[in-house]
């Protein structure tokens, strides 16, 4: 072809730069995954709650307002468990510590592992919901036909934004593929066996 010498150098430069941009964008796409997680953790954007226990902060309970806490539990395919909650809805004051019991039932005769993954809506409430104790911090093991009740202890921070009157906390059960050997440390948390 009739590509002049100076053009060839230019073409080479353009190609090198474009390929560099391509590789950069491909890497950027993967970098977005941890970036998204960090971003969500800081802002609570996708309703992901901290998965470690937080200490109760002793602050004066704000008696002037009530916030409605709603609890939703959902099963998922592949795990023959049922999850229920003692009350679907409760009213709490910001600053107040509250406790609610969740019950896990294994409907099959085989032991299995599962995990309840939480999500908070609206997402702007996420960072204001402190969980002192939650089954969602660990994976659970249930023997065949076992029933297990575990409390959730939580506190709403006093600086919860004014416009939030209702907070929905959703737990979805997911199966965990795991060989049931290292059960010890998990059994500790499963205190209230029935």
């Amino acid at each position: 072809m009739a590509i002049e010498g100076y053009q060839e150098a230019g073409v080479r430069k353009t190609v090198v730069r474009s390929v560099a941009a391509l590789v950069g964008m491909f890497a950027f796409a993967f970098a977005l995954v941890p970036l998204y997680d960090v971003f969500c953790k800081v802002t609570g954007l996708n309703g992901k709650v901290d998965t470690t226990a937080q200490a109760i902060v002793h602050e004066e309970v704000d008696q002037s307002r009530f916030v409605t806490m709603q609890f939703i539990t959902r099963g998922s395919a592949g795990l023959p468990w049922q999850m229920s909650v003692e009350t679907r809805q409760m009213r709490v004051h910001p600053g107040q510590t509250a406790e609610v019991d969740f019950t896990f039932t294994n409907n099959s005769a085989v032991e299995s592992w599962g995990r309840a993954v939480p999500s908070v809506s609206p997402s702007s409430a996420t960072t204001h919901l402190r969980k002192v104790s939650c089954f969602c911090f660990q994976e659970q093991q249930l023997q065949g036909d076992e029933r297990l009740t575990i409390p959730l202890v939580f506190q709403l921070a006093r600086d919860l934004p004014e416009e939030i009157n209702t907070i929905t906390l959703v737990y979805t059960l997911y199966p965990v593929q795991r060989i049931a050997l290292q059960t010890d440390q998990n059994n500790n948390s499963a205190g209230d066996n029935i």
Binding site: Q7, T14, S18, V23, Y174
Partner: protein, 549 residues
């Protein structure tokens, strides 16, 4: 099979031999291989351009047949013709084929044919790479179409393939879908690199960036968009691949992943992608309207800046596809306003086209008819886009037929009408013959009736609450769907006229001179019609026209 579009015999036709020798004698081109090998091995930008266009036209009909299966099922309420599972595969494949195999290759084909001619280059900068990027496409889409025959069927999760529908709950063939999309993506990326390298380095001496025809400008910006976002698509489908086959949990909440992340990543690719499908259309229309209004384009520089502005804004609006995933209020507001902001540069463009027409000496040849229909109907699509940009309203419109109506208005009478306008405009240059005026007019009027009959009622069906991607619907939507289905079959059938016009034009017709249209100014009109296989072997002298200043 071997299509005969670009003639191999140079210089048997008339007129103005500007721009250096078009003859083959001066150069030692060894004789091209004959038959199928000629097409497999060609490195000529015109032949590759024709291959792209023929491939795209074929896929346009394949995707069109899928659409007609959908419309036939929706002709009346209840399940008549196909199983819901197959219906889902048809909606998905229609979208994938039309986006990745029809519209995008058509624009790449036009770019291959016209960019070297418009900037006075002898060929694309990387001719062998060009051949490779074309031949990846038939491989990719043969693979994609073959999934329909696999056990469990083809992709059935919509062209947006949201996880976990496309990972945890996907058919077994999804891995092939991912591979096909990877190959198609590599093809687009290589094409984009080639186009950038050509435009930046191979312009005729004296042609500044701001002298380039707008089709070249819009394609340059499109190519940058492709380079920026196709790797993100590749990343997303690679993550899907790993979630499906290697036990990772990028998009699986059970393993700590997040399905909403998929939507963020997908639309970070997806929104620039929709501009990839419309920016070259702006370029084509900006070439055609001045030609047939016999006036220079109004506001050339503002057209360039508006295109660049649209491209930049396209990276800041992706979450307007996700208003209902539970974004915080500030994010809803940000994406709502940034989306509405796009109406400003787009409005500049529409204003410039209309102002170019103002007091022009207008004639209504087929390319002009399609270009004018583009301006009007694309603007309607833009307005419904503005309605969808209003976050609170979108809570109602989301995933209804209103959305379907919106993007079909910007893609069918938008992108596809612009491609057809471009084909009618440049056919005399490609074949040396004018397309049959009467048939082309007939094709235009049938298309415009068909398009509006198909897609206009969808606005009302959507506002009344009819959801997308559902094979059955409530009785109150029956009339709208009846109209849409009749329109779709009418539109589909009238595209056969288009094939007829193109075939007739390749075979013969009224001879076209080098400058086939009276008002045309760009460099491609300085080479003979049909354009010989090799043009601008010595660079033309570029005379700055009064047009662009």
């Amino acid at each position: 099979m071997a299509p005969k579009l670009p003639p191999q015999h140079p210089l048997q036709h008339s007129s103005t031999a500007v721009a250096g020798s078009q003859s083959q004698e001066g150069h030692a081109h060894h004789a091209p291989p004959k038959g199928i090998l000629r097409w497999l091995l060609t490195t000529n930008h015109k032949e590759i351009g024709s291959l792209y266009l023929i491939f795209s036209l074929t896929m346009f009909f394949v995707g069109g047949i899928f659409a007609l299966v959908v419309r036939a099922e929706l002709f009346q309420p209840g399940l008549q013709l196909v199983e819901p599972e197959f219906f889902n595969q048809m909606t998905t494949m229609h979208g994938l084929i039309m986006v990745f195999a029809a519209v995008m290759p058509a624009f790449t084909g036009l770019a291959n044919w016209m960019i070297p001619l418009q900037i006075g280059a002898p060929d694309m900068a990387l001719p062998r790479l060009n051949n490779f990027s074309f031949w990846l496409l038939p491989v990719a889409f043969a693979l994609l179409l073959s999934t329909l025959l696999m056990p469990g069927g083809g992709p059935n999760f919509g062209w947006t393939f949201y996880a976990p529908l496309s990972t945890t709950y996907a058919p077994a063939s999804t891995t092939f879908f991912i591979l096909a999309l990877h190959i198609a993506g590599i093809s687009s990326i290589l094409g984009a690199i080639n186009i950038i390298a050509t435009i930046l380095n191979m312009r005729a001496p004296g042609m500044r960036m701001m002298d380039m025809p707008l089709f070249v400008w819009t394609w340059l910006i499109t190519a940058f968009l492709l380079i920026a976002v196709m790797p993100v698509l590749a990343g997303v489908i690679t993550m899907m691949l790993m979630d499906i086959n290697f036990g990772t949990s990028f998009f699986d909440a059970a393993g700590g992943g997040d399905p909403v992340l998929f939507q963020h990543l997908f639309w970070f690719f997806g929104h620039p992608e929709v501009y990839i499908m419309i920016l070259p259309a702006f370029g084509i229309v900006s070439a055609i309207i001045p030609t047939f209004a016999r006036k220079p384009l109004f506001g050339y520089a503002s057209m360039v800046y508006a295109t660049a502005a649209i491209a930049l804004l396209s990276f800041l609006v992706w979450a307007h596809h996700m208003f209902i995933v539970g974004l915080p209020l500030t994010a809803e507001l940000f994406f709502m306003y940034s989306t509405m902001l796009i109406a400003v540069p787009t409005g500049v463009k529409v204003f410039n086209w209309v102002t170019t027409l103002f007091r022009g000496s207008i004639s209504f040849e087929p390319p002009m008819l399609f270009a004018l229909a583009f301006v009007v109907l694309f603007t309607i699509g833009g307005f419904s886009g503005l309605m969808l940009a209003i976050a609170p309203a979108d809570f109602q419109y989301h995933d209804t037929y209103f959305v379907v109506a919106h993007f079909h208005y910007v893609l069918v009478p938008g992108a596809i009408f612009a491609i057809m306008a471009g084909v009618y405009y440049w056919l005399p240059k490609w074949t040396g013959h004018y397309p049959n005026e009467r048939l082309a007019q007939c094709h235009f009027w049938c298309s415009i009736i068909g398009v509006n009959l198909t897609f206009f009622p969808m606005h009302f069906a959507g506002l009344a609450g009819m959801p997308r991607r559902i094979p059955d619907y409530a009785l109150q939507f029956a009339d709208f769907n009846l109209l849409s289905s009749i329109g779709a079959f009418f539109f589909g059938a009238s595209q056969l006229l288009f094939v007829l016009v193109v075939v007739l034009c390749v075979r013969g017709g009224q001879k076209a001179p080098a400058k086939a249209w009276e008002g045309a100014v760009d460099l491609e009109w300085s080479v003979p019609s049909p354009a010989p296989l090799h043009t601008f072997d010595t660079p033309p002298v570029f005379h700055r026209a009064q047009t662009h200043d």
